[in-house]
Symmetry: C2
Subunit: 192 residues, 2 copies
């Protein structure tokens, strides 16, 4: 049985051609993310599409100045929205009527945030595999802090940035990186 | 531009045929997950493949007795492993030499756990899209508590179960469910 080509061929790419990604392509990427499954169909994801050099420069700075990021003509910022799980929060505490006062930092203990991160990651993976199938290259970037990246993009404190996905055309096709063998990650019937 | 067929056609399926999934198919699913990207290539995922009726019954019970789960001939339990981020933890606190004493419950505040959840979700999404491309149906299940599901599978307290993915053959092809329109989730250049 064949593994899906975009799964087989995808690589995290950190060198991009000086070649733009057009709006129709970006729309298709977003559409693929939109189709993702989520708990209670809550769709807690948001995407900020950033193309301007100035904004990409500021995002790159917030990502510990990983300079290669500037080579990617598009940054898609994936943001989890706690508002989508508001009803779960109300279930626990009826006095919660809005998440607007919630700060969800790196050290937040909220269980609902974990669900939002999970679902936003799934949507991001859709986008990444879709990009690969269209001949585009990507890289997940998550080396930043909420308090560093949020102000750059005017993201409110009750949203949680889960990643910046860089998108562009790879300078060259890279071979997939090594992974642990299956025996190190697969168990049968129970752990251990 | 066409969206990848498994992204377009995937549905969360809760009615399965009485028809087994063979081991070669399961191996291909796991192989697709193995290829997923992760922060620092840490590959923090583990998968427990459960086929026995007795174990599926116990998993179903721990998932608030969602009886339809018993129709799926395979449950793949996706487990995030904090050990894979041990070096990040050591960076913060040199006295940490092992995560074996850590309990990562629903209300854990560990930032590293959020990264592990993100990466394990990406690997799970690979598996789900691969299944769809092979004519198999799936459903993400995450309505359980760590303390309920872990003992059933002998999963240590420093691992975090992110989902049970049910796998089997759908009774019928369902149409994709509605999603919010793109305009409700996409922003340009900055939030708002």
């Amino acid at each position: 049985m064949e593994i899906l080509k975009p799964i087989l061929n995808r690589r995290s790419v950190r060198r991009y051609q000086d070649k733009p990604v057009d709006d129709e392509q970006i729309r298709t990427l977003l559409e693929s993310a939109r189709r993702a499954p989520s708990g209670d169909n809550s769709q807690p994801w948001n995407f900020i599409v950033v193309k301007s050099e100035e904004m990409r420069r500021r995002i790159t700075a917030a990502c510990h100045n990983q300079k290669w990021m500037m080579q990617a003509p598009v940054h898609i910022v994936c943001v989890g929205d706690m508002e989508a799980r508001l009803k779960d929060l109300i279930k626990k505490d009826e006095t919660i009527r809005s998440t607007s006062h919630l700060k969800v930092q790196e050290n937040s203990a909220l269980h609902e945030l974990k669900l939002v991160i999970r679902d936003t990651a799934i949507a991001g993976d859709h986008l990444v595999l879709q990009a690969e199938s269209m001949g585009l290259a990507t890289c997940w970037v998550a080396w930043f802090e909420q308090k560093g990246l949020r102000p750059v993009l005017d993201i409110p404190a009750n949203k949680y940035v889960i990643a910046v996905i860089c998108v562009g055309y790879a300078v060259k096709n890279l071979k997939p990186r090594a992974r642990k063998p299956l025996k190190d990650m697969v168990h049968y019937e129970r752990w251990g």
